[in-house]
Amino acid sequence: MSRRRHRGARSVIAFSAIAVAGVSLVPVGYLFLTGISLQDIRKQFRYPATGAALLQTIELTVLISVLTVVLGVGCALLVARTTLPFPRLFTVLFALPLAVPGFVSAYADYSTELTYAPKLGVVTSFGGASLIMALTLYPYVFLPCVVALRTVDPALEEVVASLRPRRVSVLWRVILPALRPAIAAGVLIVALHVLAEYGGMVQLERSTLTTKIMAEMLDYGDYRSARSLSVLLMVLSIAVLLATRLLTGPSRLNYVTHGSTRPPQRASLGRLRIPTIAVGLAVPLAAIGPTALMTLRGLTNSDRKVSVDWSTVGRASSTTLGYAVAAALVATAVALPVSWWVNRRPSFASNLTERTVWVAHAIPSAILALALVYLAIRLVPALYKTSTVLIAAYVILFLPLAVAYQRVGLGATRRSYDEIAASLGARPGRTFFRITLPLALPGFIAGALLVGLDVSKELTTTLILIPYNAKTLSTQLWATTNGESLDFTAAAPYAAMLVLLGIPPVYLLVRHVLRQVDVAPDAITPSRADKRPRAVQPPLQTADF
């Protein structure tokens, strides 16, 4: 009886996962439904700037990915593998850029340069723009790397260290190979963000495929060309998906011991302590310093009285919070069959399904929003311009984040645990709540928090699908853009609120993903470790999404 029921449950999960992936492909279907043409693409490529934009898109994607790996892995090693003081505080600081929308930090950097060194031109240069984007995106690499770092078996590091006494050998031979899946997962998110970034790229004066697509829509009213170019963008995103799959690689390190892993050795910083702290502080400072500076200057601008309507700020904050929480919960629920299926039954079909949900993440959100306008008003007219369709859009857009982090969570569990529980007579539901969920919860919560954070920063889709007269913090921020430039005096309360609202989720995120980061090398006692099921994690699988 029970076996048949299990099989039934399994196919329900598989069916739900495929259905979720299918729905997330709806915007892509719209592209083909409403007409695209090779001829339009060819027409666009007759203009020299289109080819240049395509090339620059690829260059930016590669360079920003590399920079985020350097920053993300570097910061992760600092908090997890050195004696850097206040590792928990630093972990929060390193993750904090997640709370700032890309277009806000791009404009803050731009105006900071104009204020203090107008002729410098670094912010809008290729290298400068790449670094600015990397500084806003590296937490996506940083977080999974910290998770992965604590699962590397220290015994393995010790073996290598005894054979090759230089620290660098351990880094190259053990740690970096172990980090490959985590790096790949982070780079995937980063690269797709770069491909789809609009506001930030315009402000940093970088022409990409997405800025071309948006210009076709907004400046030239040529929606057909915009859709056709989007197909090209999808091809790039598929290339990214394949490339990160390669990066994940077959790398599997062996365990030296079985069972519980010990806390790792931390490299003593010694005389480098102070410089390392300085470098550690410089990274988040460079990432959010200009935004903080411009916001403070705006709030304290004495030349001009702006009567801040705090009730509007309050309403926009609660609306933003509401959308973020709702989308995070729905995305968590919807992502579950996908992450469960691919985790428990890895197969071609389940892997393909999981990769599919990423594709929607890579088309410009304006195209996704127009697709939902087109479909909602025809299929569910009563829901058009209500929060339901908006939240559906958020879920499609950010579902991959939930799936990715749920896979991290589920990686902490094993099919064998289910089987043991079943052999002891536990029903699948009980097993899920008593065994799987407690082990996987940090990953689930991390995914939900990341979705919520991204929702609160989202602008393009929100502007199109938000209920009439409703306001979020980021649409209010945008409404103060007098003449295409952010007016930090009027925008400051909204920017400040957005960052303040972002801090608790970032803190929770760090807490849930990184239980062990603040544990000093010798502070963990066996009895404490025993209480934590997480200490028995199998290495690597954890971060293999």
Binding site: K119, L218, D219, D303, R304, V325, P381, L437, I464, N482
Partner: protein
């Protein structure tokens, strides 16, 4: 709150989610009421100006508004026949011109069109101007003196201005290009644009042009008048700015006036109410007065367009020596767009 117990965490999460989604739905469904009709306005105009105008109209008439900010022609076209839009309020003339050319707009009542200075609205009566902006040259007196400025736009490609000015491939720049093509022909326009490209620096947006000239990165910049006034208001007055506005002394393409237009969607079920709102919007004692007297935060220092009404900030539109220009042409600006793209001077 401890979320250690997973079952409790799930319950808490679901309850929270339900409460929040109910609250979100509740706040979005309000709107229809006993008073008057509710008009749905799609707009790409500055949000604060639209809010001020519609709020005042609501106060006077009881008519309520649903507002779609950052609206695009694409959204209305994607909505198709079921579009909810009654009225479109544009910032630049291009979007209303495109709606008109697509056959989506009703004709505006003649009495409303007559309330506005001639030459600013659609020649076919498909939309009426309710505000206007003009093209200008900004300059930084620390870097160039007023008597060295070009006498007309065409002169800016002369060798003495090489590397001295910023420009942006904005919608207004496309409009200028289209105007030049229709008056001077494509060959001459191309030469002019090549000169701009060789002599100037593309700063991508009009806002950047303003900020870079003000900061002293460039001596001059081609932009629209109101960005400067907005910055002046932010800094506490025009005297706080280093840069200045320059209008070319004679009738010139560099002074081109571009209208913000109001149109009524054919699909609207409130045609009478829509016409009444447009009449109010363009009346010198109502909408125009608000645009003329509002602070720069609200009006963005845009010009009112009814005769006899002038902006308390930017002055009277009659001071601007703009050539005549049929702005409905902007719906078919492919020639201009194509030229700009060929030269690598398009946006994006």
């Amino acid at each position: 709150m401890k979320l250690g117990n997973p079952r409790r965490a799930v319950v808490v999460a679901l309850t929270l989610g339900l409460a929040v989604s109910l609250a979100a739905c509740g706040s979005s469904s309000g709107g229809n009421d006993a008073g008057g009709a509710t008009l749905t306005v799609y707009t790409d105009q500055h949000a604060d100006l639209v809010k001020a105008l519609t709020d005042q109209y609501s106060k006077q008439t009881g008519v309520k508004f649903k507002i779609q900010n950052s609206a695009t022609v694409g959204q209305i076209q994607a909505e198709g026949r079921a579009s909810r839009a009654d009225i479109f309020l544009s910032e630049d003339p291009t979007s209303v011109a495109e709606l008109g050319a697509a056959g989506l707009l009703s004709t505006v009542e003649k009495s409303t069109l007559d309330q506005v200075r001639p030459g600013l609205s659609s020649g076919k009566g498909l939309w009426v101007a309710y505000a206007a902006r003009s093209r200008v040259l900004y300059y930084n007196p620390k870097l160039i003196s007023a008597d060295q400025l070009p006498a007309n736009l065409a002169d800016i490609i002369e060798p003495q201005y090489k590397g001295k000015f910023a420009w942006a491939p904005s919608g207004a720049f496309v409009a200028t290009t289209q105007y030049l093509i229709s008056t001077e022909g494509e060959a001459k326009t191309k030469t002019f644009l090549e000169g701009i490209k060789a002599n100037g620096v593309n700063e991508q947006t009009n806002g950047n042009v303003r900020d870079t000239v003000e900061a002293g990165k460039h001596a001059m910049g081609l932009s629209n008048h109101y960005y400067w006034w907005v910055l002046a208001a932010q800094k506490g007055g025009p005297d706080k700015l280093t840069s200045k506005i320059y209008h070319f002394p004679s009738v010139d393409a560099g002074n081109l006036i571009l209208s913000s237009g109001a149109g009524i969607l054919k699909a609207s079920k409130h045609q009478d109410q829509d016409q009444k709102f447009l009449a109010w919007l363009t009346s010198k004692d109502s909408g125009q007065k608000l645009i003329a007297t509002a602070s720069a935060d609200v009006s963005e220092a845009q010009y009112p367009v009814a005769p006899g009404v002038s902006s308390a900030i930017a002055g009277d539109l009659s001071e601007i020596k703009s050539p005549q220009f049929d702005m409905d042409e902007l719906a078919n600006a492919e020639q201009a767009e194509d030229l700009l793209k060929q030269l690598g001077m398009s946006s994006g």
